[in-house]
């Protein structure tokens, strides 16, 4: 009887009570208790495991002299020029990646739904493909291209902003799912047929009719993209670009306190972003989140 009962049991305690099964009454009292104990135990252990390292970061990064607490490590973040470069680079890449991802994905997906539904599977497959190609493998294959760009395209080719090109690929699976779930929740075909028959051009149909209807998906795709770009390390480190994560890692050898402070700030930033999304675009974040993978 102490077996965890699950959500169904929980729901039965509320909704099922209407059915009024007298013999079940005595069991009903015990069931939630065992369940509650199990639930509390799970929450304490698992959430504890997840929270302790976070607390560790706070504790570590606020250490002052002689056991005191201080925010000096946080204040020192901007005294490292490398760190400023890393943060700027990553933020710029994030913005460019969001724009690039939306420009590439939204018209393609709308077009697929409206005009070539039979290609939908193909587009989906291509978008989810990066999940099967680990970033480290991608970097092996793309390194020659970046080498070429660095040698032949001057300052532009050697800029860290070129990471945008490959980051767009990395975010495809997450963005695709987020936008796809939005597109499925509206009747895209009818909407665009209506807009078109009233004389709207394709750009106008997409921008003024479809996009406002899939705001939620676009928003969560963008947020997931930002989170992914700010956390990207594998590709930028192996191609020797100074992004946020690379700088955090390098600085960690010299001043781990500041590195931990930056890490925690970045984490908090991501958490606030996602939380805001789940508050204002209900369902969107969690639906998009199903695709979340490859944490490197």
């Amino acid at each position: 009887m102490t077996t965890p009962q699950g959500p169904i049991g929980a729901a039965a305690a509320e909704g099922g009570a209407l059915l009024a099964r007298p013999p079940a009454n005595s069991r009903k009292l015990r069931r939630p208790l065992g369940q509650r104990i199990a639930r509390t135990l799970v929450l304490v252990i698992v959430l504890g495991y997840l929270i302790v390292p976070l607390y560790g970061m706070v504790e570590f990064s606020t250490r002052g002299d002689y056991g005191s607490r201080s925010l000096a490590s946080y204040a020192a973040i901007f005294s490292y020029p490398d760190m400023i470069t890393g943060i700027t680079n990553s933020l710029e890449i994030a913005v460019l990646t969001v724009v690039g991802m939306l420009v590439l994905l939204v018209p393609t997906m709308v077009w697929t739904v409206v005009r070539v539904p039979r290609m939908r599977r193909v587009v989906e497959f291509l978008c989810l493909l990066p999940l099967a190609i680990p970033a480290i493998v991608l970097v092996v294959g793309i390194a020659p291209l970046y080498q070429w760009m660095g040698q032949h395209l001057g300052a532009v080719g050697a800029s860290p902003l070129t990471l945008t090109l490959i980051d767009i690929i990395l975010v495809l699976p997450y963005s695709y799912r987020a936008i796809d779930s939005s597109l499925r929740s509206i009747d895209t075909a009818t909407l665009s047929d209506a807009a078109r028959s009233l004389g709207a051009s394709w750009p106008r149909t997409i921008l003024q009719v479809i996009v406002p209807n899939i705001r939620g998906g676009i928003l969560s795709a963008s947020v997931l993209t930002i989170a992914l770009v700010l956390g990207e390390y594998t590709i930028s480190s192996l191609l020797s670009f100074n992004t946020l994560q690379v700088v955090i890692f390098l600085l960690g050898k010299r001043d781990p306190y500041v590195s931990v402070a930056v890490s925690f700030s970045a984490l908090l930033f991501g958490f606030v972003l996602l939380f805001v999304i789940s508050r204002f675009a209900p369902g969107a974040a969690s639906r998009a989140g199903r695709a979340v993978e490859e944490p490197s």
């Binding site: 099922g16 698992v46 997840l50 739904v113 890490s263 989140g289 993978e293 490859e294």
Partner: protein, 307 residues
């Protein structure tokens, strides 16, 4: 996975007839496919081409000729084999740990109000923490259980135990760190499946006299099994592909496949072995593809119960 948005309405002649003309049909069809060209071109250049470079490179000599030497090296060099074995071990262990603890957490969270603050906090938190691999996670664990971490300080001041300062760099240490991002991923992947369990099924089980055990053994368990298995495979590839976390913790050494590939990329490669790294990468592609294929099959089965 039924196609929700491809009913006949999409092929309605309404829009097409506006263009008129009898031979516009084929032109329009070509135009339709042309609309997908930019996307396909982009994916071709930045995803398909690199994958092909890796695949072809694995079978090429440094001068471009065909060879099986790279694959031969892959299968005979002990440190490569060790790296694959270690990666697979690590991925299996952390996938199971992540699936079990993450599954339990998802169950514990589910009870709450779907739009409640607690549940949204956990989902948002899981979303961030599942992406929280890499350098930042490594630093979190350094700050907690590293030589100067507070947990180690507490243990060493309260008990006579002295913590091996190097344990975090071992495979066990890595497993503990990896599990950290596996649990939230499991919550994200598994929560919707748990959500899909319907009240009616429990009622039906209960009305036939089934208790909690009977429900999970004969109803809930079998229904969730494919999702759980699928999630397990997803977690496996997640750990198997991860590079940043391991690289940040083990800054020297090539003990995992991903680290080994990086070592091959960064080191001065022995003449004639330039493409061994690509063979390693191809090995990863093969393993991940097989696992993902099984995942897709299971997923199809799992979605049978979804609404």
């Amino acid at each position: 996975m039924t196609d929700l948005v491809s009913p006949p309405t999409t092929t309605s002649p309404g829009v097409g007839s506006a263009h008129g003309g009898a031979d516009s049909g084929r032109a329009r069809r070509i135009g339709n496919y042309a609309g997908l060209l930019p996307f396909h071109a982009y994916v071709l250049i930045f995803l398909v081409a690199p994958t092909l470079i890796v695949t072809l490179g694995a079978f090429s000599t440094s001068s471009g000729g065909f060879t099986l030497d790279n694959l031969d090296t892959l299968l005979t060099r002990q440190d490569f084999i060790d790296a694959f074995v270690a990666s697979i071990e690590l991925s299996v262990v952390t996938a199971i740990a992540g699936a079990v603890f993450g599954g339990l957490l998802a169950w514990a969270v589910l009870r709450g109000d779907p739009n409640g603050l607690f549940r949204q906090l956990v989902i948002a938190g899981a979303g961030v923490l599942a992406q929280f691999g890499g350098v930042m996670l490594a630093f979190a664990f350094f700050a907690t259980v590293g030589p100067r971490g507070f947990v180690v300080q507490i243990i060493e001041s309260a008990t006579p135990i002295s913590v091996d300062p190097l344990w975090l760099y071992s495979l066990t240490g890595l497993a503990v760190v990896y599990t950290y991002f596996q649990i939230p991923l499991m919550v994200i992947v598994f929560l919707p499946s748990l959500d899909g369990l319907r009240q009616e099924w429990y009622d039906a089980s209960a009305s036939l006299g089934g208790g909690a055990w009977a429900f999970w053994r004969y109803v809930g368990g079998p229904i969730l099994a494919p999702s759980f298995l699928g999630a397990l495979l997803l977690l496996f590839t997640n750990a198997f592909s991860a590079y940043a976390t391991a690289a940040a913790i083990i800054s020297q050494g090539c003990t995992l496949v991903t680290l080994q590939i990086a070592c091959q990329m960064q080191s001065e490669v022995v003449l004639g072995q330039e493409n061994v790294g690509k063979a390693l990468a191809l090995g990863m592609i093969v393993i991940v593809s097989v696992v993902m294929a099984i995942y897709a099959l299971i997923q199809r089965r799992a979605s049978r119960w979804a609404k």
